[in-house]
């Protein structure tokens, strides 16, 4: 840090005065990057190396640990794992598609700025501010069989008592509903920003040319929202892979594994079964998935941020 301060503290004038620049001056940018790089190395790059290594390290009951693929064969042979992967796919599709469609509909309906739309936007955006565990606490009551909020009001329509989180055929859907409720407003904000960036003249011109509202939506608005859509899609996918707090609090992956997700499985192996080998192998699989995702989307991500800024 001292060296950094000293180098950074060197007056910039040096280069303009045409004195000989000290050899170290070229290091300045790297020193400025060093603090960030240090933390990234320790908690982003090194963990990837480490987790690959420990996923390939086999610890038997006897003898020294050796290299091997046993962790992976144990992982893929574990029915809990394959179920978790399947659930993650369902959870991703179930949160992303309705979440984005609803967000887009909200944004389209609330795109004009009036006092009413402002209030409605706030109502939809509020869930994104609270922790997912807080949402889980609220939905623990909403989904409570019989006395809970949902059953209480559904009873008016003659719907019988339902065990939303305890019924294997409903539990994942209930978890998905919480995520959609929580994230929809966040995605709506992006669509609102995207909609605001569409030039009015384009829509007006189309209107004069006789394009109806549906045509304008599909021919102008949606194509121009392309970058926003790609960007939100990436965030939503990341969220689907990383947001499992409500699973931990509400269902613990149950009933009978129906709400177990990839990250929950990792958490379970590490925290409850102390099976580091299998947890590492599962982490490598997730990192692999995210890495492919990043290669596909880094461009659209960067463009997306540019676009928003």
């Amino acid at each position: 840090m001292v060296a950094l301060a000293r180098l950074v503290a060197r007056p910039l004038i040096v280069s303009t005065v045409r004195k000989r620049r000290p050899a170290l001056a070229g290091l300045t940018p790297y020193l400025l990057l060093a603090p960030s790089a240090l933390f990234l190395l320790a908690f982003t790059y090194w963990p990837v190396v480490q987790v690959v290594r420990s996923s390939l390290t086999v610890r038997g009951f006897r003898g020294a640990p050796h290299w091997g693929l046993e962790n992976y064969s144990r992982l893929f042979g574990d029915a809990h794992f394959t179920t978790a992967v399947g659930n993650t796919l369902v959870y991703a599709a179930g949160t992303i598609i309705p979440g984005l469609v609803l967000a887009l509909l909200f944004a389209l309906a609330l795109t004009e700025t009036t006092r009413l739309t402002g209030t409605l936007r706030t109502l939809v955006a509020l869930p994104m501010l609270i922790p997912l565990v807080a949402a889980a606490s609220l939905f623990a009551f909403i989904f409570l069989p019989n006395a809970g909020l949902l059953d209480h009001y559904l009873a008016i329509f003659g719907v019988a008592e339902t065990n939303w989180l305890g019924d294997p055929s409903l539990a994942l859907g209930s978890i998905i509903a919480i995520t959609v409720w929580k994230n929809c407003g966040y995605y709506m904000l992006f669509f609102l920003a995207g909609l605001a960036g569409i030039p009015r003249e384009l829509l007006d011109a189309a209107k004069i040319d006789g394009a109806g509202p549906v045509q304008r939506l599909f021919r102008i608005t949606l194509p121009l929202l392309g970058p926003t859509l790609a960007f939100v899609l990436v965030i939503a996918t990341l969220n689907a892979m990383t947001q499992i707090d409500h699973v931990i609090v509400l269902t613990q992956g149950g009933p009978s594994d129906t709400t177990s997700m990839l990250l929950f499985y990792i958490y379970q192996q590490a925290q409850q079964n102390f099976d580091v080998g299998r947890a590492s192998a599962a982490t490598v699989v997730s990192v692999g998935v995210l890495f492919v995702l990043s290669l596909v989307s880094l461009r659209s991500l960067e463009r997306g941020i540019h676009y928003e800024t």
Partner: protein, 274 residues
């Protein structure tokens, strides 16, 4: 003013937005409804008495809210303070300097947007143990001290500032560090504010990592505390107390959002990623 949004769309959106608000409405009503109002009223959204602060008192005394608030504020504040240093320096390097490997390094930095900390909990946990940071507040903060999003945001912010200011400072003999601290950062307040809002919101709401990185109750943050608290109160079906506890956890950010709505919204749309 022309009205482009059809009335039925607006009506539909209003109904949906009210539906969206129901969990909050229940939280508000149930938290101030005194216990003993009857099980049938538990789910009622209609604000019916008797009202009182009993649930809040119960929540406050059965949880460790002062400690959880303190830990959460320390974690969020600590992360933000360190982030401000790391992202300003790196943001400056990427915005204003030329050096070999710049493009590759920038791409490597951005990789953190995808390789998010929750995915890396297992290896990060062993790193934490090796560094003797397990079960400490700095341990919770450590993985977040560098922020790819922050670097990106500061780079963009610095780029919008005309170089004239810096050149004037250079003529006056200012050093790079002085330029960053005294010239660029004061001009970057909107960018910094946006970053602060996103950073604080993210870490205030973070659950999985603080849960895994700590074991003793004295190091629990609000989210972890709420989870244990809810589990306890749920067993006793004390839903009013749960509503009050949830309110205590969520209220600061909700209030900040309602008060500084415009700031929040622009920060979030600027960000997208934490």
């Amino acid at each position: 003013m022309r009205r482009d949004t059809p009335l039925f769309a607006l009506a539909l959106a209003s109904a949906a937005a009210l539906l969206w608000f129901i969990p909050f409405a229940w939280m508000a009503v149930a938290s101030i409804r005194e216990a003993g109002a009857g099980a049938a009223d538990l789910a009622s959204l209609w604000p019916s008495g008797p009202f009182g602060w009993g649930n809040f008192a119960d929540a406050w005394s059965s949880g460790h809210f002062p400690l959880w608030y303190l830990n959460t504020v320390l974690v969020c504040g600590g992360i933000l303070a360190i982030q401000c240093v790391t992202v300003s320096l790196a943001g400056y390097a990427f915005a204003r300097m030329r050096f070999p490997g710049k493009t590759i390094l920038f791409a490597l930095f951005l990789l953190q947007l995808i390789l998010v900390p929750p995915i890396l909990i297992v290896p990060n946990l062993s790193t934490l143990v090796a560094l003797h940071l397990y079960d400490t507040l700095p341990g919770i903060m450590a993985p977040y001290c560098a922020s790819a999003f922050g670097v990106f945001l500061m780079r963009q912010t610095f780029r919008t500032i005309p170089r004239d200011y810096e050149e004037a400072a250079v003529i006056d003999g200012a050093t790079r560090l002085q330029i960053i601290v005294h010239v660029l950062l004061p001009l970057s307040r909107p960018g910094l504010a946006a970053f602060a809002i996103v950073s604080i919101t993210t870490h205030w709401n973070e659950f999985l990592w603080p849960l895994m990185a700590t074991s003793s109750p004295s190091n629990q943050v609000l989210t972890v505390g709420l989870a244990t608290f809810t589990a306890g109160a749920e067993a006793g079906s004390e839903w009013g107390v749960i509503a009050a506890g949830t309110f205590l956890v969520a209220a600061p950010l909700l209030a900040a959002f309602v008060l500084f709505q415009r700031r929040f919204v622009s920060s979030f749309t600027l960000s997208g990623i934490k």
